[in-house]
Amino acid sequence: MAADGVEDLLRPLAPQVLGALVRRFGHFDACEDAVQEALLAAATQWPRDGRPERPKAWLITVASRRLVDRLRGDESRRRREDATAARVPSDALFSPAADDERAPAHDDTLTLLFLCCHPALTAPSQLALTLRAVGGLTTAEIASAFLVPEATMAQRISRAKARIRDAGSTFGPPPAAERAERLGVVLHVLYLVFNEGYTASSGPDLARADLTAEALRLTRLVHHLLPDDGEVAGLLALMLLTDARRPARTAADGSLVVLAEQDRTRWDRAAIDEGTALLATALGGDAPLGPYQVQAAIAAVHDEAADDASTDWAQVLALYGVLERLAPNPLVTLNRAVAAGVVHGPEAGLALLATVADDERLAGNHRVDAVRAHLLEQAGDLDGARAAYRQAARRTTSAPEQRHLEGRARRLT
């Protein structure tokens, strides 16, 4: 898309236009294609011919025609009418109520999110469809962000849409009984998009940083729609508090800098302040405590410490205990072992590690070896630490992390 502000204008409109179309015509899959075509038409025509006075009405008009033509298979009419769409006053085409009412458009966006994060889809499909239908990204942009060929991504998206159609989903909010669970899936998908982008480091992956921004934008949107939901606020806070460290995560040569060694003056103070404020409001509200809020609280403890040594590790340890009770998971226990190592000494950390090291869900996971190495190093068992760092380096599939772990092992020789 053109980088002259048109993109920024189009992305928030994408789900609103799609929502209006699906509401009117049904056929989520066909509507989604039509909206993509309208977005592309806008991205090429607006910079050249000027922006229409009412961009949303323009997009709805063009997308509707594309849809109707697609259903009728009338290609020639399509080209003729698109050229005139920008000149026709939108009031002549739609009553203002069709696209000016704020509430339905916003409800539509939420409904679209629920639809794109349909439980019948695999996680990669949920991510791809959410980014396209709600985020307004092109297939090419999504493909490049996930480092797969465009044809692969196009196929993934069309398969996802077919699955939703086959599942017989209608355009409407999920039943009340399923709502909390479905919102959980939506938040998880946004979290995955964020992580996918947050792991950006160098070279061909630079584009992936856009995914972080997109995840933040979409989570902000959901928070705006559901301001009283504690977990939505918690997830947004977690993203802000994590993303705040991004400037310090990479050294000048592109190598990885671990949390303990980051230059904290380079952290984004405004993002930390916003995240902490969001979290304080969420924790002070009536909504039940959830895992995202606890993870955000842990991130906040780190972000508020001037350096690693002054981190309130007792607080971190207690919060991991809370998280483990809310959402038991061996990876959480692994993190708790790191905190226990600082608070109660490396032996306590190793004892805790031993309780999950053989968990099937962690089989072959390099994090077990990395945590063991870290604790052994603190305990003074340098041979054991070196061997564990090497094992961790062999098991990770992340190249920067592998270089980092190998560096740790070498440093101990």
Partner: protein, 120 residues
């Protein structure tokens, strides 16, 4: 997560097929690849040429030297590879098992490295 599925074999393996059997193998492989393309999991699939086409490049003091080979006495060498982007290792192993070649030679499955850091 991306995985590379590598099929190893040798002349004995490849020449042991009658033409019809070989065609059947090719067709079954094509069908599998079509399914993977349709599911949005296929990143790419390639056969590599015979060992006799292999070249080695080695640069000494800035001067590249190109030699033929290697004609190493390897029992088995890489014949083809497929890259998939799928949900889990289990799914990658399932795809490997669906490859008709897995019935007579082994398919090696390796996760692909990425330039991402998983450490916050």
């Amino acid at each position: 997560m991306k995985y590379m599925l590598m099929i190893y074999g040798n002349e004995d393996v490849w020449t042991s097929f009658e033409p019809e059997a070989m065609q059947k193998l090719v067709n079954e492989t094509d069908a599998l690849l079509r399914d993977l393309a349709e599911s949005g999991e296929l990143v790419g699939a390639y056969g590599v040429s015979d060992q006799v086409m292999a070249k080695q490049v080695h640069v000494t003091d800035g001067v590249p030297a190109v030699t033929d080979g290697p004609y190493i006495e390897a029992k088995e060498y890489l014949g083809s590879f497929t890259i998939v982007d799928c949900e889990s290792l289990d799914r990658a192993l399932e795809i490997a098992a669906a490859n008709p070649a897995s019935a007579f030679t082994q398919v090696e499955v390796r996760p692909l490295m990425h330039e991402s850091a998983s450490n916050p």
